[in-house]
Symmetry: C2
Subunit: 282 residues, 2 copies
């Protein structure tokens, strides 16, 4: 399995697959792979004839330098895992290849980027949208796979692809969780043992929101208050947001209805984690 | 020759040409075609196996509503001219096809967009970059042809294509001029007879700049003053800019050197015209 670092190499290796009419799948990652990423690769392998995975820790989507520095990296292990799953090509460019001197064009992301993560991480989605568009051009594919854990990010990409007429399909794959409910994230690696225990409360609070809805509660404020209480009881007090929103626009709602989603961003120590759950009414 | 209005139709018609490995050329126009546009089509026909021309008056690149309303339109004659040149496909989408409800993603154009036209027409290059990127996605081609008359626009597109890794080549084709020197522009149609006579002074002033350089003048200020004098002598007083600049960055220079360009934007009545000339030192 080739591991290449230059855009020109990816294009050359993809050209015969394209010419042969093969369906090409693309999984974009920042490395430090976990089962969440691997589930995207498996989905791509099931549906496509040729699968490209990329590894690139994108500096422009980090709003704090220390977060970028602390972000885990493990390219050798990543490549071994991808090879085992039968990935056909790995593209792992250097920063200079993605952002050469003189680079100045960026994407002003779609409206849905302004809410939640966009409010708390200024510039984050500009960085995400720009790097995703660049990779969709560098490694042209038919289908790209994103995870539901980063729900708003997937929406931003879907809206960008629609607005800019990109000839690619975007798939949103289910969140993969540890048995105790914690959504897999590369950032989980940074947690201490006690923080790791504490972190599971995030998904428990989402489950509690669903339980409240299942027992008839519709008032968003009441649900958010209950979630906050659970979190603070377990020592999680630094919360960027708990939002109950329309799942298409991420506009916050006062009442839970069909297609309502609950989203959360909270800190465990210095580590910021996000998670979400679509609420079902019955 | 098919004339289609939906993105899906263009993609379907292009697919067999792509699959057959044909080289596809793309000429983007706002219609009201003149020999400048046709020269782009001829260049595409010479180099490519399959040529697509688009006709779309893009509302987002007009900074004044009356300019958009006054912009000439003549789609029937445009299609006849394109057919005669052997264009293989015309794509003429409606505004709603290009900007459907909910459209919100735009391109923050490269640094070179901030100067000259960018300063005098706020939002213009955001509109241009966004619509060009959309069309490059809607009608994927190998080579796209732009005119040197809109020099800064071509630079903006080239830098965007480089920055966003678009898999397409951009060609910049020479400005086509009437025998008296006036650069062809769809806006020339709006000029009255006396305005048309006056308009030729714009290119004469550029020629004069070159003559000064050829006779040893290097001082940008002196050259600009001489041009302004010629223009005002002929009643052209509403000038957005006369700029002598580095031809790659459009940064203004004090001294003419290699790869220096002179650019002008001036009004003839209500009609704003632009032109430029690369200065040669000998």
């Amino acid at each position: 399995m080739p591991v290449v670092h230059q855009t020109q190499e990816v294009r050359s290796l993809l050209a015969p697959a394209r010419a042969a009419g093969k369906q090409i799948g693309l999984v974009l990652t920042m490395g430090a792979l976990h089962e969440g990423h691997l589930s995207l690769v498996r989905a791509a392998k099931l549906e496509c004839d040729y699968v490209v995975a990329t590894i690139f820790v994108n500096p422009t989507q980090f709003d704090a330098d220390d977060d970028l520095e602390r972000y885990p990296r493990n390219t050798t292990a990543d490549c071994a895992q991808l090879e085992q799953l039968g990935v056909d090509l790995i593209f792992a460019p250097a920063t200079q290849e993605v952002y050469p001197d003189g680079f100045t064009t960026t994407i002003d992301p779609p409206a849905v980027a302004a809410r939640l993560e966009g409010k708390h991480r200024p510039g984050h989605f500009r960085g995400v949208a720009t790097v995703v568009l660049k990779f969709l051009h560098m490694a042209p594919a038919d289908i790209a796979y994103f995870g539901n854990k980063d729900y708003q990010q997937t929406l931003v990409v879907q809206h960008m692809v629609r607005d800019l007429n990109l000839p690619i399909q975007i798939r949103c794959c289910p969140t993969v969780r540890d048995p105790d409910g914690l959504a897999l994230s590369s950032r989980n690696q940074i947690l201490s043992t006690s923080q790791r225990t504490q972190a599971q409360v995030i998904s428990h609070s989402l489950n509690h929101a669903q339980q409240l809805v299942s027992s008839g509660e519709r008032d968003a404020k009441a649900i958010k208050n209950a979630m906050q209480k659970i979190l603070s009881t377990h020592g999680i007090s630094r919360i960027d947001y708990i939002a109950i929103a329309d799942s298409k626009t991420l506009e916050e709602v006062a009442q839970v209805e069909d297609a309502t989603i609950v989203l959360i961003a909270a800190y465990i120590g210095q580590t910021r984690l996000i998670d979400n759950q679509l609420l079902t009414l019955c």
